[in-house]
């Protein structure tokens, strides 16, 4: 059964560039696993290292408990969907799809029927004789997936496979790929910088930054329990409030924000009195009401901007202590507030995440480039 293990994998390009930094990871059999992170974080390098297209500088890669560091890509039994699709321009759709079976010398009849089946799976059987330059972006993407599947491998590696498509097709195709992977019982690693895409289809996600893995977990775990400030910001969205712990009681802590505003939040295990901390609260975790209202962790402020985003309405609010926060509410969920409205906002302590203030500063910690 295809299981992938990485042990201390490091990849350097020259002396200056450390693309992947001591990554250890286990991807389970039949799991849909996503690697996400900002551009240049090393996720594609890591994927290509697994495929054998790049040799690691250090570390070990195991596929089905077999060390494959010295196994060439053609013998690793993987399917790979490239960001640019890499469809062979001199071959038609059918020849592209059956390329894998042919180079592996499968019986001709079997290769042809597999090619037809895979094309049916991606609903392109009628375009079997078309050349890549005659296809739309979505069709090329399907052919690329079909080609990777027809090679018969049980591991599918996808490098930003939906990156070049428009939003509507991207949404459709991500579920289609997920369904195919599930139906064929494949193990898939999907690289993307689109967290919504990863959240929608993955069993587990690894968030990467600067060549390192910051956190691995299910989409729910990453969203509900981010372990690092960067993850809290990269998975979903967060408001960050700076403050200092003034009291710790059981599972909660009292934090003093700027202007002596005090709030009660879920305690970070390692936190102590006087620690400088950052609180992350999701925009959708806030309550908001016009005027003065009683609520947990009530903070007063003024709406500076109201943006209609279709399904949501987004309020940008300046709190009395001059901190800025964003609150998102369903657009069909009640009456909308207006710019310049005075409001009270609040959130329950369980919906906050506390982090120690980063040594290099909050802005540097959140940087994505």
């Amino acid at each position: 059964m295809p299981k992938i293990q990485l042990k201390g994998v490091t990849k350097r390009f020259g002396k200056k560039i450390l693309a992947v930094d001591n990554v250890s990871l286990e991807i389970h059999d039949k799991e849909y696993f996503s690697l996400i992170g900002p551009s240049g974080c090393g996720k594609t390098t890591l994927l290509r290292t697994i495929a054998g297209l790049i040799q690691p500088t250090k570390g070990e890669i195991y596929i089905d408990d077999v060390l494959v560091n010295d196994v060439p890509p053609e013998d690793r039994g993987i399917g790979f969907v490239f960001q640019t699709y890499a469809l062979f321009p001199h071959m038609n759709v059918f020849d592209n799809v059956t390329y894998g079976p042919r180079v592996k010398a499968w019986e001709e009849k079997r290769a042809a029927s597999l090619g037809r089946e895979t094309l049916e799976m991606v609903k392109l059987e009628k375009r079997f004789d078309a050349y890549p330059n005659e296809l739309s972006g979505g069709m090329m993407q399907r052919v690329a997936v079909a080609r990777a599947l027809a090679a018969g491998s049980k591991i599918l590696l996808l490098d930003e496979p939906l990156g070049a498509l428009d939003a509507k097709i991207r949404n459709e195709l991500r579920y289609e790929i997920r369904r195919l992977v599930e139906d064929l019982e494949l193990t898939a690693i999907h690289v993307t910088h689109d967290q919504a895409e990863a959240m929608a289809i993955s069993d587990r996600i690894a968030v990467m930054k600067n060549g390192r893995i910051l956190q691995v977990g299910t989409p729910y775990e990453l969203y509900m329990n981010p372990q690092q400030i960067f993850v809290a910001n990269f998975i979903g969205e967060s408001n960050f409030l700076e403050g200092r712990v003034i009291e710790v009681v059981n599972e909660t802590a009292i934090v003093r924000l700027r202007d002596d505003l005090k709030i009660k939040v879920k305690k970070l295990e390692a936190s102590q009195k006087n620690d400088r901390v950052v609180l992350a609260v999701r925009p959708e975790a806030f309550e908001i009401a016009e005027g003065r209202k009683k609520m947990v962790n009530a903070l007063k402020g003024v709406i500076e901007k109201v943006r209609f985003e279709g399904t949501d309405i987004r309020y940008e609010i300046r709190l009395v202590n001059e901190d800025s926060i964003t609150i998102v509410k369903p657009s069909l969920g009640g009456e909308w507030l207006k710019e310049a409205d005075k409001v009270t906002v609040g959130f329950s302590p369980e919906k906050s995440h506390m982090f120690l203030y980063p040594l290099k500063g909050l802005i540097a910690e959140l940087e994505v480039e």
Partner: protein, 552 residues
């Protein structure tokens, strides 16, 4: 922050008038048709009636047919072996990781910039005299004749193939190879079924250029041919004997058959398929093994050094001799035969500089016309095809035709004939190089500049020219070196003036045929050596200023 300097010139303002820009394009087309294309094609046609001189002479006719046949047979054979040897070399240069590959890359250009006459003499010394490799195998390992001609043509066409294929491999998207590898193909299968089919246009291009170079070459071939005659040598011999009929006949056939071959390649080239459907995985996997790859690389390097580099540079040894025996003093003091040498060298570079300047001035508007389809798609397509004709016409035939054409205009001085002949040969290389560079420049950059208020000429000098300067420099240097080494057409059009390659051909002929000559081997060696040194300076300039970004 300082703003870059910009000053609108009168040309910027004038260029926004459609009539002015169209006038420039029409002038460029007229220049091309009247001075570059029509003379070499119609000159021969004017003397078609002289062909009767050869049709009545069976012996001469048979000699002419054999010579023409030899020209094409050698060109096709040499182009094939150039591909066989050149592709692995280009592969080795682009795919290897050693820092020495840059050296090999530079060395591969040597036969390209060394004048072919010098190459011819170098090969003659190496293979056919007691000083070269013959000393190991007897005095005459390869006598002057058809085999030495093949070796020579292989050497000077080789860098063309390497350069084209290095460029193609550097531009090639490796993702295709990676995709094929992840699908289970071994490296050999990947190359055969994916890489080469995708690089087919470059393969055809390399073949065409090698073929054109072989079929056109005259000067060096004369040095190594001995009694052997190909079309170019036959034409030259007929010119010496004053027989215009056979000269016209051979030139016409060479032009027509060359055009027909290139026409066929143009039409059927796109239908040519590298065999790829059948795959033998286990056999091809064996061919992909490290051992086979190492053997291939070793053989490639052996061929490269033993058949290309050492024979090409062998001429440097008599140059050293010239320093020891004092010949260099004669050369420096310009005494005896050396006075004529320096004059011919000066003439060579004067003509080359003038031709380069004219090629740039007349070639740039033509390159824009072709690349940007300024006068419509069909006009550009026709010009694109016509521009190739001077490249494929054998230079001797081209020279003969030009000579016939321009002698109808008695007022044309010989120096101008020389410039026009060189311009006919080199202009197309420059236009091709620049058109390709402009085509690669995204048209949206031009549109962006125009939308932000730039006039057409402003766009040209501030956007297009800076982005294509490497190709312009490479094209200019190519025109310069090609003109300096040109021999066949030069011999055909002039009777009084002598350029350096023509003089060296005369020296070698005299040295080989007369025992009473004052010309020594050291003279010839030094004469060639000076040309090589000058060529090296040009090559150095090319490498430092242009590097791998150049498009040849």
């Amino acid at each position: 922050m300082k703003l870059p300097k910009f000053k609108a010139t009168i040309f910027d303002k004038l260029s926004s008038h459609r009539t002015i820009s169209y006038s420039i394009y029409i002038c460029a087309i007229l220049f091309f048709l009247v001075l570059i294309l029509i003379p070499p094609i119609f000159g021969i046609g004017l003397k078609w009636n002289l062909v009767g001189e050869i049709t009545g002479n069976a012996e001469l006719m048979s000699r002419a047919i054999n010579a023409i046949w030899a020209s094409f047979a050698i060109a096709i054979f040499v182009s094939i072996i150039d591909l066989v040897a050149g592709i692995p070399t280009a592969w080795f240069i682009t795919r290897g990781r050693s820092r020495w590959l840059n050296v090999i890359d530079t060395l591969a250009d040597i036969p390209f910039v060394v004048p072919t006459v010098t190459l011819g003499y170098s090969l003659l010394l190496f293979y056919s005299t007691s000083q070269g490799i013959s000393s190991l195998f007897g005095n005459n390992l390869v006598s002057p004749g058809w085999l030495l001609v093949i070796l020579l043509h292989f050497v000077f066409s080789f860098p063309v193939v390497v350069r084209v294929m290095v460029g193609a491999l550097l531009d090639y998207q490796h993702t295709f190879e990676e995709a094929a590898r992840t699908l289970g193909a071994s490296p050999f299968t990947v190359d055969r079924t994916v890489t080469f089919p995708i690089l087919r246009p470059s393969l055809i291009g390399a073949f065409v250029l090698a073929f054109a170079r072989s079929i056109s070459e005259t000067g060096a071939t004369m040095m190594v041919a001995g009694a052997f005659e190909n079309g170019a040598i036959f034409a030259k011999n007929m010119k010496i004997e004053g027989q215009q009929g056979p000269l016209v006949f051979v030139s016409l056939i060479l032009i027509l058959v060359s055009c027909a071959i290139f026409g066929l390649i143009f039409v059927f080239g796109s239908k040519f398929r590298v065999p790829m459907r059948r795959i033998w995985p286990s056999f091809e996997r064996k061919l992909s093994s490290k051992g086979v790859a190492a053997t291939r690389d070793t053989l490639t390097l052996l061929v490269f050094f033993l058949l290309v580099i050492i024979p090409s540079l062998f001429v440097a040894f008599p140059t050293i001799n010239a320093i020891i025996d004092g010949t260099i003093n004669n050369a420096v003091s310009s005494s005896g035969i050396w006075q004529e040498y320096w004059a011919s060298l000066g003439l060579s570079y004067f003509v080359a500089a003038l031709v380069t300047l004219l090629s740039i001035l007349a070639g740039l508007p033509m390159a824009i016309l072709i690349a940007r389809k300024r006068m419509g798609r069909s006009v550009s397509a026709v010009l694109d095809i016509l521009v190739n004709i001077p490249i494929i016409v054998p230079s001797t035939a081209l020279g003969a035709s030009l000579s016939i054409f321009w002698t109808n205009f008695a007022f044309v001085p010989e120096i101008m004939l020389l410039v026009l002949a060189h311009l006919s040969i080199t202009y197309s290389y420059f236009v091709r190089s620049m058109a390709a560079a402009i085509e690669r420049t995204d048209i949206e950059l031009e549109n962006a500049a125009r939308i932000h208020g730039a006039k057409p000429f402003t766009v040209f000098r501030t956007i297009i020219l800076p982005l294509t300067k490497y190709s312009l420099l490479a094209g200019a240097i190519m025109v310069l070196t090609r003109s300096v080494s040109e021999t066949g057409a030069t011999i055909a059009v002039v009777s009084q003036l002598k350029t350096a390659p023509v003089l060296l051909v005369d020296w070698v002929s005299e040295y080989q045929s007369s025992t009473l000559t004052i010309i020594t081997q050291s003279d010839i060696g030094l004469g060639c050596g000076i040309l090589i040194i000058l060529s090296f300076i040009v090559l150095l300039f090319l490498k430092l200023g242009v590097g791998r970004k150049a498009v040849y």
